[in-house]
Symmetry: C2
């Protein structure tokens, strides 16, 4: 059954709540005037709270990849030894950026679907020549898993105390528990189109005192992404180059919504819809791709079953208003991914599982109508602690 | 007298027309899906028409400064000789970017307010060792003048046939006549928040065959701003990193409005409001800053008169709903600037001149009520070729 608006279940851009959409229709303001300065001040303060940091937070006008580039070019010099802990496409991208700018990159990679386990990092660091930086991915969007960043950071702090910890937290921060300061992270990068419920175009970075210090001697050239220039302008409530004013206005509204909901409630909602997604997919006889110990609460990847042609199947989903993401690179056609972050609700997930159920039946897959939706609902309610009514037919 | 909405008379971000504001409230779409591909295709085709080029046009998620950086890092190698023709803050910024990335930059500068005259370029190129690139500013936002790019390009083509012509057209293209192909320009950069009537966050570049060729051997490292990666993705109707989908949706709508108005009408409107602005300011006894032979039709700079304190004066303008821009760098407090580009109408300019007249009177400046508004109106109508009614009191 169609919805009037597509059910955008990709891992970003995420659906915008109505107040954020309304904010997108506002008139432009002077980016050098007092109204913008107040807006930027509010946004930075609220971001700091969600990053759980007292460090500076900088907002750049760019995609998340631009934020990763900023993390590299501001803190490294050509030839610097870098350990890139990569568990998928986005970890690989982070490593490639470091290589592009002349870092001497050592990769620590795992089988797709596996996480970076602390033991692996311990092994890689033990007896190794010192690294200037360690690149970590918090949530790997391409395989649907969340690395144990707290534990990884602890190992790094123990065995490589001088290495900068540069963390891609683009698709997880704001949706799941995350501690920039308590975990001792130096640079943490996120993107507006993920948990923040805002269109793409802004990338936000928390920068530690150690990182600011490292910038003083880092020699990779930078201009557009020069964080020091942004810090200097921030003192006047400005940015060195014209910021994406419209998206900033939307981010201001979204952060107010997030503050009102509260971090704990946001995290619980994400865990509940993630559990619902996983239960629904399993009930539909899909195999989940990632190591179950590290399932992501923002995106779930499932294997395309043997014998199922993904293209017509996904087209049939789209016809019914469900937009999911395919696999990337070598995983194209082999997995599909369901995003459940940002403004996502249980209703969105029940609708998504419902469409998957309907199309699975249409494609002759061995499923029973109502079973998957019921499983999703039960899984969510198990998290939310409510014994809500499950449709009778689905028991 | 206040307006209900501020009269945003800065040289960008420019005011958004209602249909562009409405488009800002749209829901997100999948940036890897067919709807986005169609949107990007429409945008690129319409941009090509306004750039007057058959070259590839690339849209990057960044401020205009990011577009300038892309022009440098994709086409040069460290040590390359570059001639930077700079007539103000933005020409200087373009030169600084080239220096940052290791180019061997020779500056051709002029007194602020003067243009880059073709004779100066001829002199600089005659007998000079070959330059790999020449950096030109089309419209210098900081001083309110438009360089004669057609003539400058002709001199460059004659005396430095192998030099790439990299042009900052951020604040002029789309508002005044411009010919990418006929003038033989290699890279032309603009920004969404200027003539295009869209929020900031996108920078658009036309890239010639010669420029694509130069990229093959240019060794400055690049990743986020790698134009070749964007060209490859564009073949699938995509971008390599998540684009600013919301601003693209708005740009699509704005370009449709521009196509409907037509380039000739847009240029005439800009010339008329520019003439009105200049006439109004002169009637208010302000001295215009730029060389009159090169007045910009998108932004006008005027000197702050001896004895006038700019801060309280501009605050009084703001209280009455008029937002103008001050001077930048060494010109802070010495000039002010009025933007008249994008969605600007004669009504906006009459309102702006009216407020300037009112505040000038309040500050005891020697002006006569109605005179400046009348002068502005007459100047506009002289361009538009209509003998419309001028308020009787203003004759």
């Amino acid at each position: 059954m169609n919805r009037f608006e597509p059910n955008l279940r990709i891992p970003g851009p995420t659906s915008l709540p109505s107040p954020v959409r309304d904010a997108g229709a506002r008139q432009m303001i002077n980016h050098r005037g007092p109204e913008y300065a107040a807006l930027q001040g509010r946004v930075l303060a609220r971001l700091r709270a969600f990053f759980r940091t007292s460090n500076d937070v900088v907002v750049l006008t760019a995609a998340g990849t631009g934020g990763l580039e900023a993390a590299i070019v501001n803190h490294l010099s050509p030839g610097d030894r870098v350990l890139a802990v990569s568990v998928g496409t986005f970890g690989e991208r982070f490593a490639r950026i470091a290589t592009t700018y002349g870092a001497d990159v050592t990769r620590l990679t795992v089988t797709p679907g596996a996480a970076a386990e602390p033991g692996l990092l311990r092994e890689a660091l033990t007896g190794a020549e010192a690294f200037r930086a360690i690149l970590l991915t918090h949530n790997e969007t391409s395989t649907g898993l969340t690395n144990p960043v707290a534990e990884l950071a602890a190992v790094a702090r123990e065995l490589a105390p001088d290495a900068l910890l540069l963390v891609d937290a683009i698709s997880g921060l704001g949706a799941v528990p995350f501690e920039t300061d308590a975990w001792g992270l130096d640079v943490v990068v996120t993107g507006s189109q993920k948990s923040w419920m805002v269109p793409p175009g802004l990338t936000m970075l928390a920068v530690s005192g150690r990182a600011w210090k490292a910038q003083e001697t880092a020699t990779i050239p930078r201009f557009y992404f020069d964080l020091a220039a942004h810090r200097a302008s921030a003192e006047k409530g400005q940015t060195p180059w014209t910021p994406a004013v419209g998206i900033m206005i939307q981010l201001d509204v979204a952060l107010e919504l997030m503050e009102r909901e509260g971090a704990a409630a946001i995290f619980e909602r994400h865990h509940a819809v993630a559990e619902a997604t996983r239960a629904g997919l399993l009930a539909l006889d899909f195999e989940l791709f990632a190591d179950p110990r590290f399932f992501s609460d923002t995106v779930t990847a499932a294997r395309v079953p043997e014998g199922l042609d993904w293209k017509p199947f996904s087209a049939a989903l789209r016809e019914r208003g469900l937009v999911v993401a395919g696999g990337q690179g070598a995983l194209t056609g082999r997995i599909f991914r369901i995003g459940h972050l940002g403004s996502v609700t249980l209703a969105d997930i029940l609708a998504a599982i419902g469409v998957l159920e309907e199309v699975s039946l249409a494609f002759g897959r061995p499923v029973e109508a109502g079973t998957a939706v019921a499983a999703a609902q039960r899984a969510a309610l198990a998290v939310l602690g409510t014994t809500g009514p499950v449709p009778a037919g689905a028991r």
